[in-house]
């Protein structure tokens, strides 16, 4: 079966699939003479570990090094980094970024753990494993690990009471999973699933495999019942399922016994404040000279209070650090560069907007609802904001003054999306507001609503981010000039969300689009009323999420259009169609100012020790897609000393 799919002409495949297959056009890995990392030489000599050639898969992944931003390096060294909370040890799996398929630094999907993948029509996904690939404990990684997850974990009533994970469903349909042979697995749906590969490549991915040989000893189907019960009792678990779920820590890195495919596996058992992750001797990537990756022997991850992390970084206590560092730490970090021997790079960020105002189109108050729904009002609010001033006073002019839309790094970027209705123009704002009929003013010069109340907008914040309150201060001054009063009301995330869902807020401030660097193949769902969490149309989102059981059906033409376009995108057959749909959606969304973006592309400072190599000076710092350092391959960072 897999043969005919591979023989299909490329035109029958999506471009993604074509790219994937091209990327696997065999590299001459077999020609390499594999080299043993220094750290492991003693163990190999003592016979505790098989030599490198036997540990690697038959065809390892050869990391490309262009010699400029990425050079062939030296093996060894302990890299130090900091996390704000113990739970953040999972960042090791984000930075390690070992995925079945993963993004490269150009944000194209490439096979990583997989040797290759054949995609037919976005419906049938045939995955080919690397023969001889092994888990970090040396046991083989085969299709059995996929079968185990599918049959015995996600389809097991005790382990997954809610049934198989919804991420795999396309309009309620579960995939057909076939284990073809020891190295081949096929997932297929009758409809298109454009999300499958993206979910596999996620920073917090969908793991569709588990180390079966390890977990089976905790599974009622395989283990001896009495022994398993004793184990559960001993671990203070009330059932075998609880024990299994607790030990199955794929991607969380809280269980050192659990084998991994990542470059480093955790060696520290929590609770701890200092976590050590040690190299996986069976890792599947090598450098062009045949040296097994990762270069770094160990990652030392210390936990410190988030607010201390910039100070500790400036004191030279890290080798590479971006987490818990914000743009306002930049000058402080620069100042200490010499003293503590590091460099500070500025990477671009990928949110559609650093923060955006969300007028609630589902507000309960009828007067406000009507006003929020008037596009002239939203445009007036937008052009009344002096984005240049905000950029200059808070971001040294380094941010982009922009709508909440895609960033210049995205192939879908057009300047008109960034600039529409963002030019600071008090006159235009006044004219628009007058047109709506908000002409009466009270003695303070504040315009009056049609029922005589003053035009006082209460912007609610989650109160977590002082940056948001600072920006609102500046906007307040701007809006005063057009006769609008702004009040900031900080509350708490949970409270705020519930108020928004219930329609009790008139406006709120939150982060912009999650993914500001999409390609046409990525979902435009954020632009359509699909989620209750979308703060401009919570009730419409709820309506879709609950399949019409609660919430309200969209009753405005433009959001309806966005919703329909999203449906079209789901059924689009090629990237050209998808691109067209994306552009239509971006145009409608920005024209209508459904969310009012302020600035975007606020740079992220990245602290990099002077000896550290292969960390690019320019990069994109984003969780998904991006996995922070993941797409830049932390496994090939090294120390030049």
């Amino acid at each position: 079966m897999s043969v005919w799919s591979r023989l299909l002409p490329f035109s029958a495949l999506t471009p993604v699939a074509a790219a994937l297959i091209c990327a696997t056009a065999a590299l001459p890995a077999w020609a390499l003479d594999y080299k043993e990392p220094t750290m492991l030489q003693a163990d190999v000599a003592a016979g505790k570990l098989p030599p490198v050639a036997q540990r690697l898969p038959a065809t390892p992944l050869v990391e490309e090094m262009d010699g400029k931003t990425r050079q062939v390096g030296k093996s060894g060294g302990d890299a130090r980094m900091l996390i704000g909370r113990a739970r953040d040890v999972r960042m090791i799996s984000v930075y390690g970024y070992s995925r079945l398929v993963g993004y490269d630094e150009k944000f194209e999907l490439k096979p990583d753990i997989l040797k290759s993948i054949d995609v037919e029509d976005d419906r049938v996904f045939t995955m080919h494993l690397r023969p001889g690939h092994k888990w970090s404990d040396g046991k083989p990684f085969t299709s059995e690990d996929f079968r185990y997850w599918w049959e015995d974990v996600t389809n097991n009533k005790d382990l997954s009471p809610a049934g198989p994970i919804v991420d795999l469903m396309i309009e309620g349909e579960l995939p057909k999973v076939e284990i073809i042979d020891k190295e081949t697995v096929r997932y297929s749906w009758s409809r298109r699933n454009p999300f499958f590969l993206q979910r596999l490549a996620g920073a917090a991915p969908l793991y569709i495999y588990r180390p079966a040989h390890y977990l089976k000893q905790f599974h009622a189907k395989y283990a001896d019942k009495a022994a398993l019960e004793a184990k559960a009792e001993e671990a203070n678990a009330r059932s075998w399922a609880e024990l299994h779920n607790r030990l199955d820590t794929m991607g969380h890195f809280t269980n050192p016994d659990m084998p991994t495919l990542e470059p480093w596996n955790i060696a520290t058992r929590p609770p701890a404040i200092r976590f050590v992750a040690v190299r996986n001797p069976y890792f599947h990537r090598v450098d062009p000279k045949g040296m097994q990756l990762p270069y770094w022997d160990r990652l030392i991850v210390n936990q410190a209070d988030g607010k201390l992390i910039p100070a500790k970084s400036a004191a030279g206590e890290v080798d590479v650090q971006a987490r818990n560092i914000a743009f306002n730490n930049f000058t402080f970090l620069k100042e200490n560069e010499k003293r503590s021997a590091y460099r500070t790079f500025l990477w671009r960020t990928a949110r559609g907007s650093q923060m955006a105002l969300y007028p609630n189109l589902n507000a309960n108050d009828p007067v406000w609802r009507e006003l929020n729904r008037d596009v002239r009002f939203r445009r007036a609010l937008s052009v009344a904001i002096d984005r240049q001033g905000i950029n200059a006073s808070l971001y040294f002019g380094l941010a982009l003054e922009s709508n909440n839309t895609v960033l210049p790094d995205s192939p879908l970027f057009k300047e008109v999306y960034q600039k529409a209705w963002t030019e600071f123009d008090t006159k235009l704002a006044n004219k628009l507001l007058d047109e709506i009929g908000l002409t009466k003013r009270n003695p303070d010069g504040v315009r009056l609503l049609k029922d005589g109340r003053p035009l006082e907008i209460i912007v609610e914040t989650s109160g977590e981010d002082t940056e948001q309150t600072d920006v609102l201060e500046l906007i307040r001054d701007n809006w005063q000039k057009v006769g609008i009063k702004l009040f900031t009301k900080p509350s708490q995330r949970e409270v705020l969300k519930n108020r928004i869902y219930a329609g009790e807020t008139t406006m709120s401030i939150w982060y912009g689009l999650e993914n500001g660097i999409p390609t046409a193949a990525m979902s435009p769902g954020e632009l359509a009323p699909l989620l209750q969490d979308s703060m401009q149309w919570p009730k419409w989102g709820q309506f879709y999420e609950t399949k019409g059981q609660s919430g309200e059906a969209p009753d405005m033409p433009a959001p309806k259009e966005l919703f329909d376009l999203y449906g079209e995108w789901l059924n689009a057959t090629n990237d050209q169609q998808r691109t067209e749909i994306w552009h239509k959606m971006l145009k409608t969304y920005t024209e209508n100012e459904f969310s009012i973006g302020i600035v975007s592309g606020v740079p992220q400072p990245v602290v990099v020790g002077n000896a550290v190599r292969n960390v690019p000076e320019e990069g994109i710092y984003n969780f998904d897609p991006g996995a922070f350092f993941g797409v830049y391959r932390m496994s090939s960072f090294w120390f030049d000393r």
Binding site: P161, P271, D305, A315, V495
Partner: protein, 333 residues
């Protein structure tokens, strides 16, 4: 003494009630957090966890389970049975988590108490005996500065300068290489070096307060008739001072023990957070933030227990130290 038991019960109910007051629970907090990071994929185990932690039951029942007067899955497993509950954040029994940190907490706070006593006692006595001298004034000034400076600010300033000038690591109680190392002489030395700043920071305001209190008490005593009599009879001044007025002025020192024991766990929370000390304070704060209810609840209950026990100890010690208290107590009976 028996009043302690109902007191603790009332406290436990209050503590649990207050933890439950904010909307949502640990799981819904976690969901929000995951969603805000775009990690909807990690939500697969959420329903399992909600059942496992019993968060789907009414709050009263959760409380009763925690205390151990209501069975969960047919078993009584609560504080009354010696089980402090399960931490959802760390996925580990509370007892196991707290134990690790309590030792360091006690070390830090014991050092602080020692610092407070050692510094404040001689200064307090000196200020009282040499009232309105230059020394008294300068110590008073210092003391007021100590009281008035927010200690987290002091912590930040000292951290920064000790890092820049002495190369001390920012925050923490050990250098990198000692964190996981077994206890050894070198590790203890390392701990000592790192204890200096937290001790000063946590102790400053306490020291200042103690100096003032000791000074005031001693001044009261020094003017009393028996001191004048003693002096008139020709007792050497130092002997007179130590034998009578100081003993009288010692009461606040002892009465403080109750408060100090409680502080040993909670008082230094903010400083510990700022200085990244691996003590119980930061853990308590994080537990409250994430609504890890059993961890936070057990911590707070433990604090209450310490306060109650501390008050008892200081009462007993006072009775030993001061015959007046002993006698008055006896007279009432």
């Amino acid at each position: 003494m028996l009043i302690m038991i109902p007191t603790l019960f009332v406290i436990s109910a209050l503590v649990f009630g207050i933890i439950k007051l904010p909307p949502g629970d640990f799981i819904s907090n976690r969901i929000q957090e995951l969603k805000s990071q775009g990690e909807s994929g990690a939500l697969d185990k959420i329903e399992f966890l909600r059942q496992q932690y019993g968060l789907d039951r009414p709050a009263i029942e959760q409380y009763a389970i925690w205390i151990g007067v209501w069975p969960k899955d047919g078993q009584f497993q609560g504080i009354l049975q010696g089980d402090w509950g399960w931490s959802m954040e760390y996925n580990r029994p509370v007892g196991e988590l707290v134990g690790d940190r309590l030792l360091l907490t006690f070390i830090v706070n014991f050092a602080t108490i020692l610092f407070v006593y050692v510094v404040s006692f001689p200064i307090g006595v000196y200020s009282a005996v040499r009232q309105y001298s230059i020394g008294d004034y300068s110590f008073t000034l210092l003391g007021y500065l100590g009281l008035a400076t927010p200690n987290f600010l002091l912590a930040l300033v000292l951290l920064y300068y000790s890092n820049v000038h002495f190369g001390l690591q920012i925050g923490g109680l050990f250098d990198e290489q000692y964190i996981d190392a077994p206890w050894s002489l070198a590790k203890i030395q390392n701990l000592m070096a790192h204890l200096l700043i937290p001790t000063i920071v946590i102790g400053t305001s306490g020291t200042a307060a103690m100096i003032r209190r000791l000074r005031a008490n001693l001044l009261d005593e020094l003017q009393k008739q028996y001191v004048v009599t003693g002096r008139a009879k020709g007792l050497p001044p130092l002997r007179l001072l130590i034998k009578y007025p100081i003993r009288m002025a010692l009461n606040p020192f002892v009465a403080e023990i109750g408060a100090i024991l409680r502080q040993a766990v909670s008082g230094s929370v903010i400083v510990s957070v700022v200085m990244n000390l691996p003590t119980s304070g930061p853990m308590l704060l994080a537990a409250l933030e994430s609504q890890d209810q059993y961890l936070a609840g057990s911590f707070l209950l433990f604090l209450a227990l310490l306060t109650v026990v501390g008050v008892l100890i200081s009462d007993l010690l006072l009775a030993v130290l001061d015959p007046r208290i002993r006698l008055e107590g006896g007279a009432q009976k």
